[in-house]
């Protein structure tokens, strides 16, 4: 693509950058793996523990239905938590990094 104008390697060694990268990786992959695990729990439990799904919780509404419902809630929660962390933490760190790089004249 474009511009070899920046010294990417030196930016990649910037402590602020490393902090951002570390935080992002830990957050993104742990939430991804966690939510994926929860998602697969649905097929696994419904197949191998069907009696669990039959337990009635609210009137005729059983555990299975509520568990499926919780999957949708999980999607919303992941989206909200990620938005919050990204807006507050990642964006702030990125801004700080870009500002300090501009000060140094690296970009």
């Amino acid at each position: 693509m474009s511009g070899q104008t920046y010294d990417w390697t030196s930016i990649a060694k910037n402590p602020k950058y490393l902090e951002l990268k570390q935080k992002k990786r830990v957050f993104l992959f742990s939430w991804w793996i966690g939510s994926t695990f929860y998602y697969f729990l649905l097929s696994i439990l419904s197949a191998y523990a069907p009696s669990l799904f039959k337990i009635k919780m609210i009137g005729v509404v059983n555990f299975g239905y509520l568990f499926i419902l919780s999957q949708f809630v999980m999607c919303f929660v992941v989206a909200l938590v990620y938005t919050k962390v990204a807006n507050n933490q990642f964006d702030r760190l990125t801004d700080e990094l870009v500002k300090s790089l501009q000060k140094e004249g690296s970009i």
Partner: protein, 659 residues
């Protein structure tokens, strides 16, 4: 070269399937599915365990027997509403055409779409008519299994949200090939990425076209050919003249209509249930028709079992999804596949920044999840207020449940309210199809025009005017090919195509995309081996999987029915007219299919899973990693810092998109 070879072979495969494909099951919305690797062929076969028989016509006939009903929309009102949608979208095209002058305009709407707009457009690109019609039908016939099925498409956005959306916005430009070729040998990587994009998009597109043709055929009572050509012309028109801008707005309008229709239907169901979901479910469980449907049609208990709550069984899993591994494998395709779909990926290049990309996927996720959640109220509402017997008598797969429910909630068949609401929901389904196919045409033509023509053939040296011209010609060619293939594939089992598209995306595109963005050692060899091995493995496994048609199995099933009825006959019983008809049909099926083999010359599937994701995705990952490790490449490793800094921080993104 590779691309041409691909087209030729695809064409040959299609011709071949056309001559040999004996298709026992013709789901109405077949293929329209985003989803519906299974949902579509709901029609019975899937109620069986995978390796078991393909269809059990006897039972289906029982449910479907009395006077085959039809959905009869009021033609005048329906055509009027279709006309309004066509009119509005054409105005959008005219407006967008004026603003489309550069390649960036054509492929990415100049990066000028806001996060909010893009969120609606992504949802519009993703939610298909099959989800709208097929999934509620599935719930209305099989209960909670259908709802469980809806979790996959809702969850599939999580990987996009966390791993794909922002990094791709920061590191890419127009296509998958842009990201994959960032630090690798551009030409071979772009070529293979283009082949993979075209494969995924085209298979998905053909399935959508066939589904659209069949749906319009039923709704408007027009011939299949006319409906495919009609949908095709509109689709080509949107893309060729309006590019990404028009496509985006068609998708936004569609998503708005689809959500209005869905919310309205769910709301009316809740009004009927007195706004108490527990009441709704209690009524479902108590419904004698639903109890009978489960006992007779699904569980095949001729005499009720003492003390067994057949109604409650509707809320317990296992009526439709029977093979756990199949479910898990399909889950892999959802969890990874959506994140590798080129037409979804492409939408992230239309927004100006990673922050907007984040906003758009969050909005899309909310719309998408709400949609798939509301579908469950519609499905259970349909089961309660229409009865599964009526739904399956109109369409064996339940694909007409949403439409029938709209008619009922609007005031019933023949009433003005019923006609209007039904026509509106038909129009929503129509808009849905248009939006999805347009996005696919755009993605496929971007891969050919941008990756193959501009970057491989012209070495990236083409002026804006030429780029736009080539992009338009390519879109036209892709669109026309899709129409032709849609016409040829009328009798095909398009369910296999959808399975294929998702599985290729999960096993080919997703692994190499993730590794390109996050793994330093990844390189040209890794991309090539990952994409090729992932795609070919998937293709191979689908070809020998149970989603293909196996005439011998149909013959075997027919044989069973014949034997059963003949035994009854020889026992002295006299068959009634219905049974005689079934016997006659079974005889015909047997004679037609006995000794036949599938496209691959098989009598029975070699691979047990309907979706190969569970096997092919790990193979794709392993191939990509091994390829990269075997052929180390210093340049790719050196350039990792650049792609990583870009994808994490978004530095120089504006310059990258000007380029």
């Amino acid at each position: 070269m590779i691309v041409r070879f691909f087209f030729v072979s695809l064409f040959m495969v299609l011709c071949y399937t056309n001559t040999l494909g004996a298709e026992p099951v013709k789901p109405v919305v077949a293929g329209t599915p985003n989803a519906a690797v299974q949902a579509t062929s709901v029609i019975a076969p899937l109620a069986q365990p995978v390796a078991a028989t393909v269809a059990k016509p006897l039972e289906i006939q029982k449910t479907a027997a009395p006077a085959p009903n039809k959905v009869k929309p009021n033609r005048g009102i329906t055509i009027g509403m279709f006309g309004v949608i066509i009119g509005i979208t054409l105005c959008v095209v005219v407006w967008a055409a004026k603003k489309t002058t550069t390649a960036a305009d054509f492929y990415a709407a100049g990066g000028g779409i806001t996060g909010l707009q893009n969120g609606w457009a992504i949802a519009g690109d993703y939610m298909s008519a099959a989800s709208f019609l097929g999934m509620s039908g599935l719930i209305s016939l099989y209960g909670i299994d259908g709802f469980m099925y809806a979790v996959g498409p809702a969850f599939s956005f999580i990987a996009i949200l966390l791993l794909i959306a922002e990094p791709c916005r920061n590191a890419g430009k127009f296509t998958l090939g842009d990201i994959l070729s960032f630090r690798t040998s551009a030409k071979p990587v772009r070529a293979v990425a283009a082949v993979s994009t075209v494969t995924v998009s085209l298979f998905y597109l053909i399935a959508q076209m066939v589904g659209a043709g069949k749906l319009m055929q039923v709704l408007l009572d027009i011939p299949y050919k006319v409906s495919v050509i009609g949908v095709g012309i509109l689709m080509v028109g949107y893309v060729v003249f309006g590019g990404m801008k028009a496509t985006t707005w068609v998708q936004i309008i569609k998503a708005g209509l689809l959500m209005s229709g869905t919310v309205l239907l769910a709301f009316l169901v809740m009004v009927k249930a007195g706004f108490n979901p527990v009441t709704l479910f209690s009524d479902v469980v108590k419904s004698p028709q639903i109890q009978d449907h489960i006992r007779i049609n699904l569980l095949k208990d001729a005499i009720p079992k003492e003390g067994f709550d057949y109604g409650q069984r509707f809320l317990e899993p296992g009526l439709f999804l029977k093979n756990p591994l199949d479910q898990i494998s399909l889950g892999v395709a959802w969890a990874l596949g959506a994140a590798g779909l080129p037409h979804i990926l492409m939408r992230f290049f239309t927004v100006p920044s990673a922050k907007e990309a984040r906003k758009s996927i969050v909005i899309a996720l909310f719309i998408n999840s709400s949609f798939f959640f509301l579908i469950n109220l519609i499905g259970f509402g349909a089961a309660l207020y229409l009865t599964p017997q009526l739904i399956s008598s109109v369409d064996k797969g339940g694909n007409m449940a949403t439409l029938l429910l709209a008619q009922l909630l609007g005031g019933g068949a023949g009433s003005l309210g019923g006609d209007i609401f039904l026509a509106f929901i038909c129009a929503v389904a129509f808009a849905t199809i248009l939006a999805v196919v347009s996005g696919l045409v755009l993605a496929a033509s971007a891969a050919i025009a941008h990756d193959v023509y501009v970057n491989i053939i012209m070495d990236g040296k083409a002026d804006q005017h030429t780029q736009v011209k080539v992009a338009k010609i390519t879109s036209l060619v892709v669109g026309v090919s899709a129409i032709v293939m849609g016409l040829m594939a009328e009798k095909e089992n398009v369910v296999a195509f959808v399975a294929l598209a998702f599985a290729v995306a999960a096993s080919g595109n997703f692994p190499v995309l993730i590794l390109s963005l996050f793994w330093r050692r990844f390189n040209t060899a890794g991309v090539l081996s990952g994409l090729l091995v992932g795609t070919i493995t998937t293709l191979g496994l689908v070809m020998v999987s149970p989603v293909m048609t196996y005439p011998q199995q149909i013959a075997n099933d027919a044989k069973k029915i014949i034997t059963a009825l003949e035994t009854k006959q020889s026992g002295g019983a006299v068959l009634d007219a219905k049974e005689l008809k079934i016997l006659e049909k079974a005889q015909a099926d047997f004679n037609k299919n006995d000794g036949g083999t599938s496209m691959m010359g098989l009598k029975a599937p070699l691979f047990p899973l309907k979706n190969p994701g569970l096997v092919s995705a790990p193979i794709g990952f392993i191939a990509a990693i091994l390829g990269a490790l075997l052929f180390r490449e210093k340049r790719a490793e050196d350039m990792f810092d650049e792609i990583e800094v870009r994808q994490i921080t978004g530095i120089e993104i504006t310059r990258a998109s000007d380029h």
